[in-house]
């Protein structure tokens, strides 16, 4: 595979990235500017940064392989769920922004401390996101490293690609702050969109049209066209648990919640919700075509071989280079936001001299990146399923966050130990100390239910108690 085109496209991309970082640094005047991008995002930039943060290599690499392996019901797993996320954004942005304006906002952890009146809430939240975001950053960095290592042999080893990505995103994040990340996200979102559609068009054209593509899939493996898929993955329980975990991402994951807070005004936030919904469909739809193409043409191939072939080797050199840059962009746009958000959350828990806090925050971001890189060296290649574990883990934090945002009279502190217990149970499941299925119900679904029931009962009781007699 030609590295000349990679140098050209990658060089052009790097130039734009440098310009965006320079512009961000020039217009950043305070610590608030640095951490919260001036809190004035418009609709398009807001939607692109939210979309690019939401969609990672998990989308461009994971989803085609998911469609190839498990079939078309993967559309419900992600396409329907991401359309529904737009509704969640619309519902959640108003109370979150109102609460942030009232309590002040440096990060969700800090907001939880203010709302619950105890640092335990913020610390528990931070521990939860640290546990589940670092591995998610790591699998993306590793995935890209493996793919680029296979596609461009003799350039850099797998870990070298991973290290280059981590160093690059650290440089522009540390120099330009959240504004640089937002600008680069917008650029990365557009590259991601372009790359997926170019590859998908080639995949459909290969068969002569959409109908012919589906006929070929039906001949090759008809089980791909219905539930539960060839491997029986898409059961009602799997889809329900996945939807719950993914739908609460804007609530639980700090890099997404922060983007709702830093929109210019409520109108921009609404426009962002609509645009994110459309962007989601535009990004996921082409991965369906790429995956079904792979189901026919690369049925027996390993994940890495399939992706290296369909995304790089079978493309014209210029397209292959654009896709490679798109993959790097996808990985960086999510990883930078997550690492920076972890830094922001830590900052929101710190007190003292602002300059000392910022210095510690910047050092912490580098340490988080180092932890993610170290984890990347030992993590698995199952991008989608590992991402899903990350989503499920952070989803357990949803009641803790929702009470803090929605219950303006002061949320009940008993939610904190309940959440800690649920997190411990989920970790025990991952470690194999608890079974994955209990009495016929998936353990993650059961943990959500066991956590949600007392929380819902508490919310209803408090609402009832707050209602005036006779109302």
């Amino acid at each position: 595979m030609s590295t000349a085109w990679l140098a050209v496209v990658g060089g052009a991309y790097a130039l734009v990235l440098v310009a965006a970082t320079w512009h961000a640094r020039r217009t950043t005047r305070s610590a608030e500017d640095y951490m919260l991008a001036g809190s004035s995002l418009g609709v398009l930039v807001g939607a692109l940064t939210f979309g690019a943060t939401l969609f990672s290599t998990f989308t461009l690499m994971g989803m085609p392989d998911f469609f190839r392996t498990h079939g078309v019901v993967a559309w419900i797993f992600l396409g329907v769920t991401d359309a529904a996320i737009a509704v969640v954004i619309l519902w959640y942005a108003v109370p979150l922004r109102r609460r942030a304006a009232r309590l002040g906002f440096q990060g969700l952890a800090g907001l939880l401390v203010e709302a619950y009146g105890t640092r335990a809430a913020g610390r528990l939240y931070f521990a939860g996101i640290f546990l589940f975001l670092i591995p998610y950053v790591a699998v993306q960095v590793r995935g890209i490293g493996i793919l680029l290592g296979a596609a461009y042999p003799g350039t850099l080893p797998d870990w070298g690609w991973s290290l280059a990505i981590v160093v690059t995103l650290l440089v522009y994040s540390e120099i330009g702050g959240l504004k640089a990340i937002v600008y680069s996200d917008a650029l990365q979102g557009l590259v991601l969109l372009f790359a997926t559609w170019v590859v998908a068009y080639g995949c459909v054209a290969h068969f002569g049209g959409v109908a012919a593509l589906f006929e070929s899939v039906a001949r090759t493996e008809p089980a791909l066209l219905s539930a539960p898929g060839p491997h029986g993955l898409f059961t009602f329980q799997f889809l329900l648990a996945s939807m719950l975990a993914i739908l609460v991402l804007p609530i639980t994951q700090p890099q997404l919640a922060t983007r709702l807070v830093i929109m210019r005004d409520a109108r921009s936030a609404r426009g962002m919700a609509v645009t994110v919904g459309v962007f989601s469909m535009l990004v996921i739809l082409p991965t369906l075509a790429i995956g079904l193409y792979g189901a026919v043409e690369h049925a027996g191939a390993s994940t890495a071989d399939f992706l290296a072939a369909v995304l790089i080797a079978e493309q014209a050199p210029a397209v292959a280079a654009t896709v490679a840059v798109g993959l790097v962009a996808a990985a960086m746009s999510t990883a930078d936001s997550q690492l920076f958000a972890l830094g922001g959350e830590l900052r929101s828990l710190m007190r003292g001299d602002e300059r000392a806090v910022m210095r510690r925050t910047r050092v912490a971001i580098v340490l988080f990146a180092a932890a993610a890189f170290a984890f990347a060296v030992v993590s698995s290649d199952q991008l989608v399923l590992l991402a899903r574990v990350s989503f499920a883990g952070t989803a357990i934090l949803a009641p803790l966050v929702l009470f803090a945002v929605l219950d303006e009279r002061g949320p009940p502190r008993r939610v904190i130990p309940l959440t800690a217990l649920a997190l411990a149970a989920f970790l025990a499941t991952l470690a194999g100390l608890l079974p994955e299925v209990i009495a016929g119900v998936r353990a993650d679904l059961l943990i959500f239910a066991v956590l949600a029931l007392p929380c819902a009962a508490t919310a209803m009781t408090r609402r009832y108690a707050a209602t005036p007699a006779g109302a």
Partner: protein, 83 residues
């Protein structure tokens, strides 16, 4: 605009917003209903697409319509002065 007219507009926008939320929940429920997820069921097809896929497309498209309507309802509530 009188206070009564404002209240009426806020109430109508609030009803539409709640209807949007209910519709979103119903649509998601349809997408994971036993009919959509019936094992091995390919028919009825729509434009050559198998059942689970076209239902998923229709639900996703309808959710986008719900988002647009919901955003409009929220804007009306805001303009009418609802908190």
């Amino acid at each position: 605009m009188t206070e009564t007219e404002t209240d009426t507009r806020v109430a109508a926008a609030t009803r539409l917003w709640h209807a949007c939320l209910a519709a979103a929940i119903a649509l998601v429920a349809v997408s994971i209903s036993p009919w959509t997820l019936a094992p091995g069921a390919l028919t009825p097809t729509l434009l050559g697409l198998p059942r689970a896929l076209w239902v998923g497309f229709v639900v996703a498209g309808a959710l986008l319509v719900v988002v647009v309507l919901g955003a409009w309802a929220q804007a009306r509530r805001e303009r009418a002065g609802a908190s």
